[in-house]
Symmetry: C2
Subunit: 479 residues, 2 copies
């Protein structure tokens, strides 16, 4: 997940006010045939026994690697997923997109003056450019560091104390909140500085902005991600520093002058051509009605994007694989989409929404998995509260296997399906234990080893059972 | 701690066979006067309330930074500690040493060929040279990677399959063992490859060696540390890769050819002059008898050596500070030593042992803290088992404040005091909860923020109470 759309998602959470405990509604034959319910159970068992998604996650992460929009790896990933879907007999098309093409360069930061510094030394600062940042001059830039904990503190300092300096936003990621299961909320708070820090600092004349990493890692890891410029405000270089470096700089700045040398040489190249991979398993009775299962294929460039979001793509790819294995054909079309450019532009989700504008009513439902692959705790749903009873039989099945699907939770779903969600398409996301997700997300440590095969299989069972059930629902979902 | 002396320490553990529960021996007046016991309680309370050690750890870590032997920061740290001890009125001398001067250079590794690789890409490998490694050619070297899990697997492959290649020792750090409180044992197993990997690989004609990081981190962090060459075996460049990269390379190598490009440009400069800082708080009655309290001042260069071992130096410095505050003068001399070069040569400990060879009997006891600063679980003791009852009153006092001093444990103590320990000087170390220590140790994440002020104060109370009690013991310790 990119974290740039949190405000947008919240809007939709507000559209729902009722959580309906699943057990109050018994499975009703008019929603799902007994054959469908039986098939859901088979799919669930097959998903839990399958290593298909695990192998696909491994391939995308280890064999292809980081997949930032416009990179050769992103293009290789498009080809790879398309080929794999063709192998399963799906009808595959590539939806052409124009995507940003930002490329990380060299990056180095060091403290060149601070209280107590040994003569002839500097102190290393672990830094990474934020996605979309402009470069510093090729020989770097040096400035005094001003440390603030919030936008308010920056405003209070005023132009006089900020002009010509490097601003460090030292806003603390709420690790306790994240450890309590509210990682998304903690991230939402922290990411405001990553997104808007450059504009706020430049408005007061800063020459560069650094943000404390917007994640929970305390392992000298930098959290990258998208940032914004304002056409009316000077663009300044924007980077993230590790938790540790933010702490050390804040400590030193309280004692005296801290000067930092910053070199970052990213480039924004002309937009590149890329693609959403769209693969249809045609429905047997209502082929024009579509249930989307999806994840995003692009990733940030520091790690290999295993959690964000190779695993989401893999569990989507696994849906037709399992149905093929079981020789099941859904009533409606199940459309696997591997979205491109979720992280820094949302070109894929936007273009699909535009292309399908006249066809929204044919989108029966949309699912996106973009919160890792931990133990699933439920299903997030954005739509009309009257629709909730329609999904109770699904959670009843999923609960049987111990993946812990306790209830449907209203809440924000994936940003790629957002344009559909906004137009009323019932939208879903698996809802995970995210207590550790934000320790790795957008860092160099988002790598394949973070995937637990059992938990990924549980996540895959949610995607497959949910997608099949929706594709076989006997009635339309209220919308 | 360097981890290069584990074999040596084990020798001494074997010298003891009895753990004496503290409660079986009541405090006896002939060991400690009632005034001494009362003073021990005051020292304990003062230590728990003091932030002196915390501020010193901060200064050494944040204001001075990484302190590898021969570096300007190491020299600055020598001056700093000497000045701080003089401020406390101690008699300070610098013991001159000749120390290795190894300097890290550029380092970069990438996979340039592997199964599935997107054309025109490479895959980043996070690498750091091991301390003492020679450099690669300035334009790097490229070779096929051979992955082995053990020395035995390497031997089984033989020269034919190893010659001209880059060997990756993929020996797994036992995280479960470490999480169960046996971090030192887990480390001891893993570090064998870091120390001896280059020799074993070069014997079979390898052109370079990489080892999976010898620590518990799973955050794309590299664990550096000392390695060895054999004068009779070709020297080859030696680096560590992160857990994640070792996992990915092992995965890819099972699928086909993996070629890696390695660049590391460390330099071994001529030996540098450095110093042990030796500061005496003269004893009131037996000034010629010495109780050493110590930690090592040098650190590895990736982090700022807060846990390894600024905190050990700081809790040692705090002992005279607290006694001054309380206007207490020990009967014997308390000698604070900030050792130099523990990590890559042990020049400090060795030189002190040689200098004091004729004076060993005057060393009443020696304490070194070099396992971080977590919650103290007890005290390690190396010496005669008959001596154990002499220390029971100390643990009885420390138990009162809830720092969790449950028992004396026989076991290995610090490597700098090793030459004294070997000659029979009763030797001690605080024994900590080390469950997280090896996740940070020798990595870029060994930084000040890892120090918990409360736990550091607890550690400081162990050092101060133990040192004062030994300095005031009414009888000699059996040796």
């Amino acid at each position: 997940m990119s974290g740039m759309k949190t405000g947008f998602v919240v809007t939709f959470i507000l559209g729902l006010s009722v959580i309906l405990p699943a057990q109050t509604v018994a499975p009703t034959p008019q929603l799902y045939s007994s054959q469908t319910i039986q098939n859901m159970r088979s799919i669930m068992r097959s998903a839990l026994a399958s290593d298909y998604a695990y192998r696909q996650t491994a391939y995308l992460s280890n064999n292809i690697g980081p997949r930032l929009s416009g990179s050769p790896q992103a293009e290789r990933a498009v080809e790879y997923v398309a080929d794999e879907m063709r192998k399963l007999g799906l009808e595959v098309r590539l939806q052409k997109l124009s995507v940003p093409h930002w490329v990380r360069g060299d990056e180095k930061a060091e403290l060149v003056e601070f209280p107590g510094m040994a003569a002839g030394t500097t102190q290393k600062v672990v830094v990474a450019a934020l996605g979309g940042s402009i470069a510093t001059p090729n020989d770097g830039m040096t400035g005094d560091v001003v440390v603030v904990n919030s936008f308010d503190e920056l405003t209070a300092l005023g132009r006089e104390k900020v002009e010509g300096k490097i601003v460090l936003f030292n806003n603390k990621f709420d690790r306790e909140m994240a450890a309590s299961g509210f990682g998304g909320n903690a991230y939402g708070q922290a990411v405001a500085y990553r997104g808007g820090g450059a504009i706020a600092a430049a408005r007061l004349g800063a020459i560069a902005v650094l943000v404390r990493s917007a994640g929970g890692s305390q392992n000298r890891l930098v959290h990258t991600g998208a940032m914004r410029y304002d056409p009316n405000v000077t663009r300044i270089p924007a980077g993230a520093v590790s938790f540790e470096d933010a702490e050390a700089i804040a400590y030193l700045a309280k004692m005296g002058r801290v000067r930092l040398r910053l070199l970052m040489t990213p480039q924004t190249l002309p937009n590149a051509t890329s693609y959403n991979v769209i693969a249809d398993l045609k429905g047997s009775e209502l082929p024009d009605e579509v249930v989307i299962v999806s994840g995003h294929l692009d990733s940030w460039d520091l790690g290999t994007g295993a959690l964000d979001d190779a695993c989401g793509v893999a569990v989507s790819m696994q849906v037709p694989y399992l149905l093929n294995q079981l020789k099941l054909r859904p009533r409606r079309t199940i459309r696997v989409i591997a979205w491109m450019n979720e992280e820094n532009g949302s070109a894929g989700g936007t273009a699909y929404g535009e292309e399908q504008a006249a066809n929204v009513s044919k989108h029966f439902a949309a699912i996106e998995s973009d919160l890792g692959a931990s133990h699933p705790l439920g299903i997030l749903f954005t739509g009309k509260s009257e629709a909730l009873p329609f999904f109770a039989p699904i959670t009843a099945v999923l609960r049987e296997h111990g993946a812990g699907i306790a209830q449907l939770q209203p809440g924000g779903v994936g940003s790629d399906i957002g344009p559909l969600t906004q137009k009323g398409v019932p939208s879903f996301a698996p809802y995970f234990d995210t207590r550790t997700y934000f320790n790795y997300h957008h860092t160099a440590a988002d790598t394949f080893d973070k995937i637990d095969p059992k938990q990924l299989a549980e996540s895959g069972s949610v995607m497959a059972v949910l997608a099949y059930a929706l594709a076989n629902l006997e009635q339309p979902i209220p919308r």
